[in-house]
């Protein structure tokens, strides 16, 4: 079953509980919109009461110092800043990452092949072709959400999340793909494995990559 990714006509601004706000950008899921989100995050970082502005996938979460009584002021600020159309341009670091596809480290590679109607070799070829841009860092420490997945590999999330997959696991779901930075639960399809450290709390900044950086996957081996 392929995922339908509906686009909004207008920005959507909703409360995320009592002291966070979610801004969802209208339009396509693409790098131009994401560059506007990064610019919006930079702008919002200076606003009163904003503890942190956290880019997601063509969306932005604001974490506030305390609960506001309503969102009116933030709605006006967010809309005005979005409407400037400003994009942030980043000098990317490019990371080439060798991957062992399939086998023990990629238990769902066959599911993805079956779900998309391709052979395992074709899935790997399609997956290693693009340059993936880091859209956002999050989920767990150092994890990179990547844009650029070929639409032919779109799969919905697994119905029941796995309790734990190891760090270094390469997985995909929806329009997204990425490599786990540490062991943890996952609702995605795990298709391969890499040896890499994405996060170190003693490093400044602690995350290896930042939004705008680029990852290239290399098929070191494919285990069918």
């Amino acid at each position: 079953m392929s995922a339908s990714a509906a686009s909004l006509e207008e920005p959507r601004i909703t409360p995320l509980g009592s002291s966070a706000i979610l801004f969802e950008a209208p339009g396509a899921f693409d790098i131009e919109h994401q560059k506007r989100i990064w610019a919006l995050a930079d702008a919002a970082t200076g606003w009163d009461m904003v503890v942190e502005a956290v880019p997601g996938m063509t969306n932005l979460m604001l974490i506030l110092a305390r609960p506001p009584r309503d969102l009116t002021a933030f709605e006006a600020l967010l809309r005005a800043a979005w409407d400037t159309g400003d994009e942030k341009h980043v000098e990317p670091t490019v990371l080439e990452l060798p991957i062992v596809y399939g086998g023990e480290g990629g238990p769902h590679l066959r599911d993805v092949a079956e779900g998309t109607g391709f052979s395992v070799a074709e899935v790997v070829r399609i997956h290693t072709e693009p340059d993936y841009t880091v859209y956002a860092v999050g989920s767990h420490a150092g994890y990179c959400y990547l844009g650029g997945l070929d639409a032919r590999l779109f799969m919905t999330r697994r119905k029941v999340p796995l309790v734990s997959i190891p760090g270094g696991s390469l997985s995909l779901a929806g329009m997204q793909t990425g490599v786990s930075a540490s062991a943890g639960p996952s609702g995605w399809h795990t298709i391969g494995r890499a040896e890499i450290s994405f996060f170190d709390p003693e490093r400044q900044p602690p995350a290896l990559l930042k939004p705008g950086d680029v990852i290239r996957f290399k098929a070191e081996r494919v285990i069918v």
């Binding site: 995320l16 860092v137 420490a141 943890g184 709390p201």
Partner: protein, 328 residues
């Protein structure tokens, strides 16, 4: 120093958590019941954000190697200092050699042990909280083990001789129904995408906290919540309190150690002022959700702040009295 004599449970060092590192994927972590930790700290004259021990459900024994002021808050765990019972939400002075026993709580899920000046472990990324997934903070990023020794930073506050207590928040702050934990929820972006029956069931059902519940989140059991249309979301920031509903239809409340981003549809978000109530619900307990808006959430926040300000003022007055009259 304090030596841990026995700890079968997931005891961790926690303060109020990390702030400002979401953009690197670092979750808030920190005490599940931040209100209890704040109370425990205020009772000792600490800054409310000092680090303490979070002690879930099971019993714990420890020994004080030196005289030390300490406090307990959160779940009422029938604590004994030697053979002397201690009330919940209480600060007392331990003598070197005293053994503190925390028993399985009669109600509630997590007790907090605070010490004068806070637990002395290094700050990592602005906090002393244990980051279990990434294994940093607290004691080497892990839960405490038998034989671990922890140090208190210490302070010069003079505790009244018989100790000092606080009115527990479950009594002081307006709550809840009989045998059910009631928490306030602000509907989230996908609320309207659930069919009418699911929305009604969300507010009316008693949601059972399942055994698959921990610091990352509580998995709930109740009526299936169904979307009226298929949606696949773009992943976005997630804070503690977000109630996600995976395709199976059973909700999960994201909590202190939750992922910082996620893409499951969210039906609502528990307000910050009520997260402590969830932290004190244990597997088998029932939760009920009541709808609330931002203004009500701001009022709830203010109510909590007033409670803490009163407590801080009261504690400060009693410490001043103890110092002035030498009754300590």
């Amino acid at each position: 120093m304090i030596e841990i004599l026995s700890t079968p449970s997931l005891v961790t060092v926690q303060d109020l958590g990390r702030s400002g590192f979401y953009r690197y994927g670092v979750c808030r972590s920190g005490a599940m019941d931040r209100l209890a930790l704040a109370i425990g700290n205020l009772l000792l004259g600490n800054d409310r954000s000092a680090a303490g021990l979070e002690i879930p459900i099971l019993p714990l024994r420890l020994r004080f190697d030196v005289d030390m002021n300490f406090s307990l808050a959160g779940a009422d765990c029938g604590a004994m200092l030697g053979d002397r019972p201690l009330p919940p939400c209480w600060a007392a002075r331990a003598k070197a050699g005293d053994i503190l026993t925390l028993n399985t709580p009669l109600s509630g899920c997590r007790a907090y042990l605070c010490v004068a000046g806070g637990i002395d472990v290094p700050e990592v990324l602005g906090s002393r909280s244990t980051q279990l997934r990434e294994t940093f903070g607290g004691i080497d990023g892990r839960a405490l083990q038998k034989g671990d020794r922890i140090a208190a930073a210490g302070n010069d506050a003079r505790l009244p001789k018989d100790g000092l207590g606080a009115l527990p928040p479950a009594v002081a702050l307006a709550a809840a129904g009989d045998g059910v934990t009631v928490v306030r929820v602000i509907p989230a972006a996908e609320y309207g995408d659930y069919d009418e029956a699911s929305r009604a069931a969300f507010w009316s059902a008693d949601w059972k906290v399942t055994g698959q519940s921990n610091r990352a989140g509580y998995r709930l059991e109740g009526p299936d919540l169904a979307l009226s249309r298929m949606i696949e979301l773009r992943s976005h920031g997630v804070v503690p309190g977000v109630i996600q509903v995976p395709a199976g239809g059973q909700p999960i409340i994201q909590l202190a150690d939750a992922a910082t981003m996620g893409g499951y549809p969210k039906i609502g978000v528990v307000i910050d002022a009520d997260l402590w109530r969830i932290a004190q619900a244990r597997p088998g307990d029932a939760l009920r959700f009541v709808e609330c808006d931002m203004a009500m959430a701001a009022d709830a926040h203010d109510e909590t702040e007033i409670y803490l300000a009163h407590l801080a003022a009261d504690v400060s007055r009693q410490y001043r009295l103890a110092t002035a009259w030498g009754v300590a």
